[in-house]
Symmetry: D2
Subunit: 346 residues, 4 copies
């Protein structure tokens, strides 16, 4: 039984980790960390867990937690995990960081986009980018996982095979993403009040969103060189889900069937990436509450472009579910253990 | 041209006052008061008003405002207006208070339900409860209006005629109300975040909601004696609208037609109360954005009860629209001036 | 391994049965019945099931299905199941009927409220009302289960203990219910279009809703005599969830603690009914996607009433989840098998 | 007083025409046409109009209507208006067609994208594309107006100035649009049920949406040559609103200030197009219920692209409001008459 501790367990991603781990046959939560609610019964924060979780919230003492747990999930603001990680800590517990601290290998690039100092760049090299569909083997032996961002997960899974196969012009990629509001977090901000989000849609972080360099770094691996990606997210009046619509110029004369074959080849054996049938578009509701990423492509002969589409649940495959998937790989379990969540239809 | 000042113009009710007054042919806003945003252009708070309002927000100096304005709307937290009202102020400007400060005539009762000291109970007698359908003549000569609460407006309009006619047992009234989330205000609270309100419904203030004594006081006028009302509001995932479903035991052998006749008699000449055709139920969308209150009744022979239903837009007839209706009456204008807002269908 | 067949598998309750049974360790779906989509791959109807369900939809041949399955779920319109049930059928397969056909023991009463002829009243006596918290022992040996309606499930669980203990006046019960829109079914009707339901709330079936006699029949068992209940449902802009707010006059001098003790005594050992802590109100989101019913009570000394509140997911505990709970009891499995679904927090 | 007739008055765009015209000081509705509801009181279809519209629905007899009305609005499916227009009809009444029948000047191109025969191509030359910000002078003398589509209105207003100024590469334009669900119409289709649209987002009409050629034709005027545009709409869980996010490669070395100057030059005197302040993004809620189009641009130096953003209310500026704007221009009224609708804030 894997003993798991969660720092930041009362945020939306943290709560989703709890929801998933409660039904995981080989893991047990030993630490419900929450700086804001220390001492308060966890089930008082979310009534969902009444009679399911009896424990009270603990503080964020990672030193003590490293003794109590086999694996620590940090579902915390940027900068927290990087400030705590040490050789000693990693020798005592594995760390899966849901923040961006170890996703970007170049500390200067991280500091430029996040406007925050990186205190422990010496671990950037060791940290493994936890997208199992790309890095499964590296994850197996890792002590420190940089769990991918929600937009990068959906964007990279949608675009990677076409980029890798050389079907598209690397610098022509434009990613227009639509996200549910859990992505904005649980902080008490006027802009995230019900009445400010309901019945409206808006872009945000236009040209400056922090997930841009992360997407670029991963797609660069497919392109074999550095690339620049245009990325624009939009806030949608729904709780969960990310839809990515990505556009790129076709780089060669290729059919939709050939492109779909590249996707099927890459994802055919993957449990959690579903290449939809020809002509079907991803919808976020069909992955809701699950760890699936649904992807598909459409060639537009008229314009010479490829349209790549993907859908995930932003707090499952885009956060907590992927973190558990990484945990499963790190601890040698069946990768889908505890993650066979069937999406709701409505 | 009536010069109007608004204290609390950046809250939801305040912004709705602005929306309505901008199209009012006989009124002009001279003071956009906002303690939180003093000095900031008003249109920066709500992009709706871009190019429509050029003014910046002013502070809440009611002394100065009383010189600049003919009428002051206070869309402020409980206690504010009561702390500012004085003989001198009322001699210089009329005041329409959208808070609860002057709605309950008994200061002790106010203090009991609101847990707040009333600093100026000497004005309770003068203040007129601003429900024009009940108090039109008193409003005409008033200097100080207690603009009704949103739930009381909808509840009283729905129940009054049946109570007045003696058709129902006074102490049997149970009011179950459903409210959109603008009713919770624009404060940055976790419980009002999009993801906490969307896809859920809950009761609140069960047995203790502060609108209870206000409803009781008004319905007592119909009953001719003090009464106790059961009132329970619920938070609904929508921005605007209140629906009231009220239940009472029939006190006499009366037909639905006779009861409907009492409603038609009371409201037949009213512009803003619509007695729906037999068998139709009120829906909040059919009054959305307008000053209408839609009401109807249904007799249940099987149980011996009368079901009274009403719908309003909580920030129009339940707040800003009613405040403007009161202003129109106070200044001798056509009562519907500036309020001929046709409800949207969708 | 229990072989399960579903008639009406493409409606919302049918699809939820599929979602639940796919993860049930001791059951397997052998028949995806759908009159509308016969021959079409089931996963084409709901993309959620892509790569999870390979089967195509079959017709509604219950004769053939009775040979293929150990248990048949009928998630069908009123009248269907009653027209198919026979001694021969029940001797070959157990039937769990999600329609109202066998819920009301008096055929005349059924025909009066449903305006439909009952073709097989001879099975009304045998059919067991499948609310395990009331009828567990009867369910164990049953061949034919009348799976309760969504409103009755929530209403009866909320009111039963207080009624049974004699704390409330039997004929004073008023139930005001709020339901998500899955309750309206998947038929293509204008009134259920997104734009007609979003941003509005309305009552429906006022004084005439068909779940009224079902609620009365069950609560009559608690009261020890026939009773009349006032029941009014409302349509809420959300997919899932029912909230019940029930009002009754206190029949004796009793404290909230004593009443809560009666609830705890009845539900203390129940897996799926959670009596919330004192002062907490049920919210539908805290049971979303799960088989839980959350209940609580509040005494109002001022009015002499008891307020009883309950929340369920209407298509889980109110339909498919309860059906599986019944199946588990009928087949001697752990009652919670396949139903340990943790509610989402957001 | 202009006498206006509406064919298709019970659809969403038709009802919005009614909402707007009821408050228009110089127009009066003389014909509420509805094939589906002929003979039924109009206010029974939408309770919003109770006590505001007493008329019953009439049929779609355009011959008779042409005698009764000065202007006919056809808010009808594709093909209807084209099948009715004749020299005789246009000599008796002006026609504003809200369908696509006369938007595309090349009948073959219309027939290719709409898969429908065009019966009266002889009027394509006369029909004026009713985007007043582009074609005001032509509209003044027109007898037949092709009222623009919702997506084209928002797309063209967002992109036109940059294209016209030569700032962007003509064939690089990618338009990613997000639309509220009124855009899907009021037909009873499963895919538009509340539960199928709520809590999800999806693309549709990928590479094939019929508004594509309309957008191309209008932007071609700015480019001075034929162009191909990539256009992808998405369905969003909200009633009203379209947001356009458009991407294009910069064609020259130009600053954001210079580009904004081009927008301000084109729209500075326009009542209904608001060029937002630098750094502000359009949000659909800030134009809700109004005839405004909010636009803004953002240069991305890093990628060498221009991002153009626009927001409208799809059934006001994208349909009924623009139709009334056209009527005002055609009849020599103040262009904003009846259209000074202030957007709601929430």
């Amino acid at each position: 039984m894997i003993k798991a501790g969660i720092i930041g367990s009362t945020g939306y991603a943290g709560a989703e980790l709890v929801r998933i781990l409660l039904n995981h046959p080989d893991a047990k939560i030993v630490w419900y960390g929450s700086r804001s609610f220390t001492g308060q019964p966890y089930a008082e924060i979310y009534g969902s867990f009444f009679e399911l979780v009896d424990e009270a919230c603990l503080d964020d003492n990672m030193e003590e937690l490293a003794d109590a747990a086999d694996v620590i999930f940090t579902a915390t603001p940027q900068g927290y995990c990087a400030s705590k990680v040490s050789e000693d800590l990693l020798s005592r517990a594995k760390v899966i960081d849901l923040s961006a601290d170890f996703r970007i290998k170049d500390a200067a690039r991280y500091e430029e986009w996040y406007a925050i100092h990186h205190p422990t760049p010496e671990f950037l090299g060791e940290a493994v980018y936890g997208l199992p569909e790309l890095n499964r083997d590296l994850i197996k032996g890792a002590r420190l996982i940089a769990n991918p961002g929600c937009f990068p997960t959906c964007s990279v899974l949608s675009v990677f095979p076409a980029m890798k196969a050389g079907f598209i012009e690397p610098d022509s990629v434009i990613i227009d993403a639509k996200s549910g509001t859990t992505g904005a977090g649980r902080g008490a901000k006027v802009q995230n009040l019900y009445c400010e989000v309901n019945e409206t849609v808006k872009p945000y972080g236009v040209t400056t969103h922090r997930h841009t360099p992360e997407i670029e770094d991963q797609l660069a691996k497919a392109a074999g060189r550095e690339i620049a990606v245009q990325f624009t997210p939009h806030l949608i009046p729904m709780n969960r889900g990310i839809l990515v619509t990505a556009y790129a110029r076709l780089a060669k004369d290729v059919t939709e069937q050939e492109i779909r074959a590249a996707y099927t080849e890459m994802y055919g054996d993957e449990t959690f990436v579903r290449v939809l049938p020809e002509g079907k578009v991803p919808e976020t509701r069909y992955v809701r509450g699950s760890n699936y990423a649904d992807v598909n492509v459409r060639v537009d002969r008229r314009t010479g472009r490829l349209i790549m589409m993907g859908a995930i649940d932003n707090i499952v495959k885009g956060a907590a579910g992927q973190a558990v998937q990484n945990m499963n790989v790190m601890f040698g379990l069946d990768e889908a253990e505890g993650l066979r969540l069937v999406p709701e239809c409505v």
